[in-house]
Symmetry: C2
Subunit: 449 residues, 2 copies
């Protein structure tokens, strides 16, 4: 009998836990889960024989270590900043670890120690990062295997709403941490390389400078640049590629409207607003508009939109930002916190809502002097508001990797991510059984782009 310890049972852990419980009889697993909220764990275990809800402070190394010691594998679904501390315990206790999060600099530095301890620390194996790495590397390796050269790689991912639940003017609801959505893109310019020209996009233009794309059967999408695309050159072994771009997908109109919040200053998290607890949505908005005694907030906002963006107005009206009856009631709040309060009341996932995870890669490569293009797209629809597509696409690759580690199918030790065929091939194959499936198309291009 093997023991799996899961730290954190939040939103994106539902599908992970279900997969592990479903497979626990076949593989003889015990699943031990800890979360601040033990009722949440019990709901997710649903009385399953092989599941045990634990009650201890997962953030406290002293409380955590005895549990890790009993385990064959730890899965950390904690907020990303806690992974390094968990990893240190896992190294000390020689226990394998999986996290779905980006490898931090501190995590990378643990590579030698992890190898010396004989363990795998597998990271970036959810979605963006995760499935994007795996599906892209499969194509990159195939292009390289036939002796061709990748000249351009653009990759997009977005957590959106399935067409049947896509029923608000923003074409968006929260399927993950709302605060992260409000702060997305802050903290430095986004950068990428386009035909060997380095390009930098500051936050105030990030949602205004879009790549538009479409997926057959699913319509149009806008993509905005997702932080530092340049570092992926090394990760993907494409050090000299002339064009690399990673972006986040939203439905048309979303980014243009979101940019209005940024321009106004309403996503700023760096200061507290005076008397924030008394601000209504209307007075919150008005704090970013000029004083004009004979002009309404609505009219001042329309002035701000300028002539060419009046079509965005209804999106804001729908959010209730002109409402003046009830204060938002957030004490000592930054603009970003005030905006989040408005949005969580509106972009809420209803129980029957289905979300949709969209991924789209576009490759160009040169082979025998000819230019080719491959596109690879994946659209996955969630089951409901618990087993969302977000939960499935994050949780299932983690779960499958867990199975592979426990079965001894993964052999590369150290701090790693799923860019090797031995990792991505079986995972991509099994994900297809969950309808997480990439459709690839190849065309020969007439001329060099």
């Amino acid at each position: 009998m093997k023991t799996i310890l899961i730290l954190g049972a939040g939103l994106s852990a539902s599908s992970l836990i279900r997969y592990l419980l479903d497979n626990s009889k076949i593989y003889n697993w015990k699943i031990r889960i800890v979360d601040q909220d033990i009722n949440l764990v019990n709901r997710k275990l649903n009385g399953h024989d092989n599941g045990i809800a634990l009650s201890f402070n997962a953030l406290d190394s002293a409380e955590r270590r005895p549990e890790i010691e009993k385990s064959d594998l730890v899965i950390s679904m904690l907020p990303a900043r806690f992974h390094v501390d968990v990893a240190k315990d896992c190294i000390a206790l020689k226990t394998n670890l999986i996290t779905p999060s980006y490898i931090s600099e501190e995590m990378r530095e643990l590579d030698e120690e992890a190898k010396a301890a004989g363990i795998i620390i597998m990271n970036e194996i959810g979605v963006d990062p995760g499935i994007d790495h795996m599906s892209a590397m499969k194509i990159i390796h195939a292009i390289q295997a036939k002796g061709a050269t990748v000249t351009s790689f653009k990759s997009f991912c977005g957590g959106l709403m399935a067409p049947e639940s896509d029923n608000n003017p923003w074409n968006y609801k929260f399927t993950w941490n709302p605060r992260n959505v409000v702060l997305a893109g802050q903290g430095g310019a986004s950068c990428f390389i386009d035909h060997n020209e380095y390009k930098y996009v500051p936050y105030n233009r990030l949602f205004g400078r879009l790549f538009t794309t479409g997926i057959e059967g699913y319509g149009e999408f806008d993509g905005y640049a997702n932080r530092d695309s340049l570092s992926y050159r090394k990760t993907y072994g494409l050090e000299t590629i002339p064009t690399i771009f990673r972006g986040t997908l939203r439905r048309p109109g979303f980014c243009q409207a979101w940019n209005v919040f940024i321009e106004l200053g309403m996503t700023d998290d760096s200061y507290k607003m005076e008397n924030s607890e008394f601000l209504t949505p209307r007075s919150f908005l008005n704090a970013f508009l000029p004083y004009r005694p004979y002009r309404s907030v609505e009219d001042k906002f329309k002035d701000f939109l300028r002539e060419d963006r009046q079509d965005l107005y209804e999106k804001f009206e729908w959010l209730g930002i002109f409402e003046s009856t009830t204060p938002l009631g957030v004490c000592d709040a930054s603009p970003a916190q005030m905006l989040e309060k408005i949005l969580v009341g509106k972009w809420v996932l209803e129980p029957a809502d289905k979300d949709m995870l969209v991924m789209y890669h576009e490759f160009e490569y040169e082979f025998h002097g000819e230019h080719h293009s491959i596109t690879s797209s994946m659209v996955n629809i969630g089951e409901d508001h618990t087993f969302t597509s977000m939960s499935n696409t994050v949780g299932l690759p983690v779960a499958i990797a867990s199975k592979m580690i426990l079965n001894g199918d993964l052999t590369t030790l150290g701090v790693t991510l799923p860019i090797q065929p031995e990792v991505y091939n079986p995972i991509l194959v099994e994900l297809e059984t969950f309808d997480i499936r990439f459709i690839e198309k190849e065309v020969q291009l007439d001329c060099k782009i």
Copy 2:
């Protein structure tokens, strides 16, 4: 004989040193000056009997203390971040201190210790901050003395070029630290209060949301919000004032054009650009414009300006930002550092150039149910590129305050700034002899604004 120790003999110290030397015979002063560049000190002393150039590390407390110990007054013209350490030495050695800089939180905390040591630490006594405080407090105290209530205070200041030297399309040259000009307004939203409404302006809109004003004989100016206006309510004893705004003045067109640099991301100082040493002005600009193979950088830039801002184009062309012959040659440079390199080559003060310091206050007050307005304006023209108006308006108030402290005319101990009549009245009177003179106008308003 009294001894004055000046730490730092940079740009803004020229007029200070001249005043002190000119008065040293009358008052029996020795002026001891230290700077990294002893030749600079010697040039400014020009062989004067009462001046001594010193050579030690003014930033090293151990080297500084013996010099402070010999002195009756220390004037710190060092960069603002060093003032607190100097103040601690002055407290330990019971020596008075003057700095022209804003009182930092750490400086404020030294108030009790300074009082206990029996010394004056006078701050914010240059220009913006300095002359603005003094000229404003004189009017505020006069309004309050007759039992009226100040309802609005707007205050603007700008270091610009005298009309006869104002000969480039930006109507601007550097009269102080270029880096500070490039970074101006960064680091948080600017905030003020307008008719009891708190207003916040994010950096990306700061130079786009302007107050326009004019001064008779000197034409039009634009003012952009200068950081946190709210804290001045306490400083000026106007805690419940419905409107308070502090702004920085530029000539019309400057701010609109500067905003283009901000929008593009060219003032960002938070990251280093790839291969920055090889970038020409043209490739630097192009890094912030999209890749368009059949469109020139000029055309892409015009696209970015949009139809309504094409009149700004010549300003950028004049700066040479489309030049592609010579790399700027700055290694590991942030966008802000690259931009600074371009600007310092263009916005340079020629030897015969005269700068111009402009200050403008606008008060409204209520008295016996009637509404009144007072404006107070000061325009001062520099002598040449050494005795600039910037140097005169910073250095002369510091110099006059030095005289007052040494003569025993200032009695308020502790960490202070020039907002008391005993300080500002004699200084404002003496500044008039240097043609730094405020013109006040009072009007009764027809209706409440």
